[in-house]
């Protein structure tokens, strides 16, 4: 019997059953989630129970200076995955791109959701916030900053989706013409979970939400506010091409023999060693591949300032500026100063020679 899914008191379990998800598939999803979050198998029933009974939490999704890639990543369902169904099973009360409402009605829906679920709703943010001039990005005449502060006031927690919201992202890149900042630069008094990535991996989002729904708490975060389960390992440490790095086998260009053999892409500028994300294990597009596997070096998109990290195709160990030129000029300058100093030395020595008092046997004692 189908329940009315628009009713706010339907549970996640109801919603899933109404979509025809079997108990078996549901448990498989819980098992996969438990494994991804590095939880023991004994936790699977806990997760199952929690999700079964989870009330559809209210989620207000704020989109600021973003490209919509994060939303695209999440909602693009090649197949009807359970992830996307989970997503559907939250009460997404506000989302520019996805909602049917527009204009005043849309804003009214947001305010109503905030009031009804006071202190209980989740805020999801994608896109950075411009601080130079509010006019750079407004929604219904409301600046991003005002909307964020206003909406965050009674939120239970904030999840920043994508590097833009987490760290400033692409708008923040030099010269940062809009004065773009991250959510955490503005909101200081609410728990913030940074799910960075450009875009983030879909299952990372749902994993965070699942954690929140299961335990009602924020997962363990790293020093940049990212969930450790997904951002605790660097790409380098989980990359399947690591043995080639260790052996010293590198692709030198995009189409050479090394590249075709699938060798390490360090020399092509791979930022795997300094990037923390789940790409190497969880991969993309339902586990099909990830940039390195496709032959492109990791660009470090889940890290702050990745766009200003010295160039995507410049290896980490290469300086970002032209050192050769600096070295040549410095050598010339040094030689010039050295010759000058040496000349002074010669003058001094010559003066000492002129001041030389010939030593006779009478001069051997005082």
């Amino acid at each position: 019997m189908t329940k009315d899914l628009s009713r706010k008191d339907t549970t996640l379990g109801d919603a899933l059953r109404s979509k025809g998800i079997s108990r078996r598939s549901f448990l498989k999803f819980c098992a996969a989630t438990a494994s991804m979050m590095a939880l023991p198998p004994s936790m699977i029933p806990t997760i199952a129970n929690a999700l079964e009974k989870a009330r559809r939490p209210s989620v207000i999704w704020l989109s600021f200076q973003e490209c919509t890639g994060c939303t695209e990543s999440l909602t693009r369902a090649h197949t009807a995955t359970v992830e996307s169904l989970i997503f559907d099973s939250i009460s997404l009360d506000y989302h520019h791109t996805l909602q049917a409402a527009a204009g005043h009605a849309a804003e009214a829906a947001r305010e109503a959701a905030m009031e009804e679920n006071k202190d209980k709703y989740l805020v999801v943010v994608d896109g950075s916030i411009p601080m130079d001039n509010p006019g750079y990005s407004t929604i219904a005449g409301i600046s991003n900053y005002d909307m964020l502060v206003d909406t965050a006031k009674h939120a239970a927690a904030i999840v920043t989706v994508g590097t833009c919201a987490a760290f400033g992202g692409i708008p923040h890149a030099k010269p940062n013409p809009t004065g773009a900042v991250a959510v955490s630069d503005i909101i200081k008094d609410k728990p913030i979970i940074n799910v960075s990535g450009c875009p983030p991996i879909p299952v990372v989002i749902t994993g965070v939400l699942t954690h929140f729904l299961t335990f009602g708490t924020i997962p363990d975060l790293d020093n940049l506010g990212r969930p450790k389960t997904f951002f605790g390992q660097s790409i380098h440490d989980r990359c399947y091409r690591r043995p080639f790095y260790d052996k010293g086998l590198f692709a030198e260009s995009f189409d050479d023999e090394g590249a075709r053999e699938g060798w390490c892409l360090y020399k092509l500028g791979c930022k795997g060693p300094t990037t923390y994300n789940a790409c190497a294990t969880t991969k993309w597009n339902g586990g099909v591949s990830f940039p390195i596997e496709s032959g492109h070096p990791c660009i470090g998109c889940s890290e702050p300032n990745f766009w200003d990290g010295g160039g995507f195709y410049k290896a980490i160990s290469i300086p970002t500026e032209n050192l050769t030129q600096t070295a040549i000029y410095s050598a010339a300058a040094g030689a010039a100063v050295g010759v000058a100093a040496g000349t002074l030395g010669r003058i001094k020595k010559s003066a000492a020679g002129k001041a030389h008092d010939k030593v006779t046997i009478d001069d051997l004692e005082k």
Partner: protein, 419 residues
């Protein structure tokens, strides 16, 4: 006029050149030079580490000739060279160093430390910090003509003895001779057999030679004390006599630093090249050997070894010649450990033997030579420097060892074929 600190400091300033600057820039304080110096190995005193002996010169280089040092000096950084410091360094630079140059051979970064100690002595001498014994010797060398006070009559007397004993004439002041022989006071006084040996060999090989009455002294106290001015004056006497007699060559006898003085430092001291060639007696003898003009019939059966005088072999370049000559008469020759250019100093060169203050340490470090000899058990030791010979005899006596110390030239002469 007298010595003064300022004169000494100025002299040190004159001594810094590109090689000194490169050496001090490269020293990494590895201490390997101490393992090469017998004054350290036999005493264990870290301050005797060779590079430490050059500290006065190093400070002058650093504070006068490096940009960083000059800037530092303005702000009061950098240890100063003071008169007290030079006093402290006296026994290191003079008593504990013979300028043997072994340190220069092993320094891994390539420092010629002995050369730098030689340069440091310029500052020490001009500031009145040379040892009294050496000052005395130098004064005698300049005023009398010999550091031991040997005057011409003494030499003439020795020559007379030789002529009487052998019947041959020792040529003196022969104009146009090919070779002008110099003699060290040590040889004249203690080993006059050398004069006889040379006379015999030259007669045998038909060499045209002479001794100059106006400049017969080979020893150069100026080199030992470290005063280029005095050393130049002493060299000039030889140059003048050679010019007066119009000789083609000057022979440096069996004396270590005399060869360094006349052969290598000489032209640079007086500021112009010679009009004559300089040969060490061993070089000349080896030349004669190669020309087939030496006929040696005697064989020495005793087990012999050769002590390389530092200033002749390692610092002078005469290493193979003595061995070629020894091979002419020795049936049983063995090299001591570390032969040739790496041989160990006897401990008395470079002015140490003229420095009474250094008597004790001079004999203490003979232990190194003793160790070398103990390894080979020889019947006799040959050398080609009378200063080495006297000290080696002293050392052997001190350590209760019995063996003759032979002059190469004399031994060669003894074994010449009688014509």
């Amino acid at each position: 006029m007298s010595a003064s600190f300022d004169k000494g400091y100025n002299a040190l300033k004159e001594q810094v050149d590109a090689s000194v600057a490169a050496f001090f820039s490269s020293c990494v304080h590895c201490g390997m030079c101490s393992d090469a110096c017998l004054f350290f190995t036999e005493t264990g005193a870290p301050e005797r580490t060779p590079i430490n002996k050059t500290e006065p010169l190093r400070r002058v280089w650093q504070q006068e000739y490096t940009l960083l040092g000059r800037i530092g000096k303005i702000f009061g950084f950098g240890k100063k060279v003071t008169d007290e410091m030079l006093t402290e360094w006296e026994t290191l630079i003079y008593d504990s160093c013979t300028l043997c140059g072994r340190c220069s051979m092993i320094c891994p970064v390539g420092n010629d430390i002995a050369d730098m100690i030689r340069k440091t002595r310029e500052g020490m001498a001009a500031s009145g910090h040379a040892p009294p014994g050496l000052i005395g010797a130098t004064k005698r060398a300049v005023t009398i003509g010999s550091p031991m006070g040997v005057k011409l009559p003494a030499l003439q007397a020795q020559i007379a003895h030789v002529e009487k004993d052998t019947g041959m004439t020792i040529p003196v002041d022969v104009e146009g001779a090919d070779y002008m022989l110099l003699l060290s006071s040590m040889e004249i006084m203690n080993f006059p057999e050398f004069i006889e040996a040379v006379g015999k060999i030259f007669k045998h090989a038909n060499v045209s030679w002479t001794i100059a009455s106006e400049a017969f002294e080979a020893t150069n106290s100026g080199i030992q004390i470290g005063s280029s001015d005095i050393a130049a004056e002493l060299v000039q006497r030889i140059v003048d006599a050679a010019a007066k007699l119009k000789v083609k060559n000057v022979i440096s006898p069996e004396c270590g630093h005399a060869y360094m003085a006349i052969r290598w430092e000489g032209p640079n001291l007086i500021g112009k090249p010679y009009d004559f060639k300089v040969v060490h007696i061993l070089e000349l003898l080896d030349d004669l050997r190669q020309q087939g003009r030496l006929k040696v019939s005697g064989r020495v059966k005793d087990k012999l070894t050769y002590h390389d005088p530092c200033q002749i072999s390692r610092r002078g370049g005469v290493i193979d010649e003595p061995r070629n000559l020894i091979a002419m008469f020795a049936d049983n020759f063995v090299e001591m450990p570390d032969p040739g250019k790496m041989n160990w100093c006897c401990g008395a060169g470079g002015g140490v033997s003229s420095n009474e203050r250094a008597d004790e340490i001079r004999l203490q470090v003979f232990q190194r030579k003793k160790d070398q000899l103990d390894a080979i058990h020889v019947d006799g030791m040959i050398s080609a420097c009378s200063n080495c010979r006297i000290h080696l005899e002293d050392g052997l006596e001190e350590y209760h060892m019995e063996m003759p110390v032979l002059s190469l030239t004399e031994t060669l002469a003894e074994n010449l074929e009688d014509k």
